[in-house]
Symmetry: none
Subunit: 234 residues, 2 copies
DNA sequence: TTCCCTTTTAACCTTACATTAACAAAAATG
DNA sequence: CATTTTTGTTAATGTAAGGTTAAAAGGGAA
């Protein structure tokens, strides 16, 4: 069977550099979609499933970070690598906050780039084994469509969920009847684990409980100091 | 309840740099074990469970890569970060080959280092969802679920256990019908063995006895001066 | 800009936990 | 058998975590 080529989204405004990099990646057996700016990058991102995004930081109209944030809202998992001309500390920090997987300084060695790409894609691959792409859940009388972000009770009118509500409920559903550790949600959804994000999460738990009240069989239990548990009583 | 600190193995031969880095990490709430060379690093690695290894590349006798290979043989998962004085392409490539998670060039910005450490440990945290240890016990008519911290009698309504109650009952169950030494519980659960922790433990024994009263076949016996024994009478 | 939606922060309250104290009972010690 | 040590048990205390609601802040779209 033909090995499935890994698909890379490359967003880089410099046409020379972009093309060279693209060709180099293709030569090394990747499928590459090249966008010339942030806008286009986001459009292309929405239209496809990528194994990796390589984003230039410095771009007109929409910089790499803004684009990364938009991408993260759609997809919390896809690896993102930033390209930056100079090593600016703030850049690097900002990058990691948005959930960057790595950082590359231009000019960089192409072999190193390949290695990193390989390492990152590989990393995700091993993660994704257990993390089966699941977006639709049955939660007692509810249907959760995590892709479209809505929650419906008994086939009635769907309620629209905010991104955070949706992610949190999805995580809970992935661990149905089992412990969903606080830390997991905080690192996966909030990308930071501190007092405030933790309180924020509690607020969202309250919101979800309100939604879920329609079905008295469904509840979110707390395990003090550990996390939450979405239980469906039969 | 005390927050579980992340444990870092730092292998660095330069005593000045090593100590500074160690202190800096400790200041930022990590638990750090510092080894002064590759040999010692491997010994310490085998003795403990680490969330991250930071290895200096240039070390006498056993360099960072060799150490990394040994570590990888024991443990395929633990994140490894290399420290290197200069950016040598071969180093970087070699590092990624051994399964490095990241690379840091000395001198590096300490904030950036922290960010990277945080990012890497988080990444691993999300991977490690289901570690199937032993969490379920049958104690006479009771079911103890030590992961979800509840105790159920004859399939009835589960009672929630506090962390200490849970740990203690679990330890007793692990030694069912056998002596569970006082000292063991104190060092394992309370991490300290003194008059007060000992009294605290007695309080918890009383609580457990109250729970277990539902089944007259189950009891916790005291062995004076030695410890306790969870017995199931048939 | 204003408006709307989302998220964070704040405030206040309740519950959960662990420790310590206090006193009683049992066991060991000499 | 008197005294010390260990254990049994309950209650009080202090702190941390979680529940809930509301207000503030942020951000995109019209």
């Amino acid at each position: 069977m033909e090995e499935q080529k890994k698909k890379i989204l490359l967003v880089e405004d410099d046409p020379n550099f972009g093309t060279v990099l693209k060709d180099y990646l293709i030569m090394n057996d990747y499928e590459v979609i090249h966008a010339k700016n942030g806008m286009e990058g986001f459009e292309k991102f929405k239209k496809d499933d990528f194994d990796l995004c390589i984003l230039d930081v410095m771009m007109p109209y929409k910089d790499g970070f803004t684009l990364a944030k938009e991408i993260r809202e759609k997809n919390t998992d896809v690896p993102i690598v930033f390209l930056t001309a100079k090593t600016m500390k703030e850049d690097v920090l900002r990058g990691y906050k948005v959930g960057a997987d790595d950082y590359l300084n231009k000019p960089f060695d192409s072999e190193v780039l390949l290695m990193k790409i390989k390492a990152i894609i590989q990393r995700k691959a091993t993660e994704t084994i257990s993390d089966s792409k699941q977006f639709e859940f049955k939660i007692g009388g509810f249907d959760l469509n995590s892709k479209l972000r809505f929650l419906r009770f008994n086939g009635g009118e769907p309620v629209k969920l905010s991104p955070k509500e949706n992610e949190l409920l999805r995580l809970l559903a992935l661990h149905e009847n089992d412990l969903m550790p606080r830390e997991l949600a905080l690192t996966k959804i909030w990308r930071d684990d501190n007092y405030f994000t933790s309180r924020s999460m509690d607020v969202y738990i309250a919101k979800l409980r309100k939604y879920l009240k329609l079905d008295e069989k469904v509840e979110i239990l707390n395990i003090h100091g550990e996390g939450f548990r979405l239980v469906i009583n039969s």
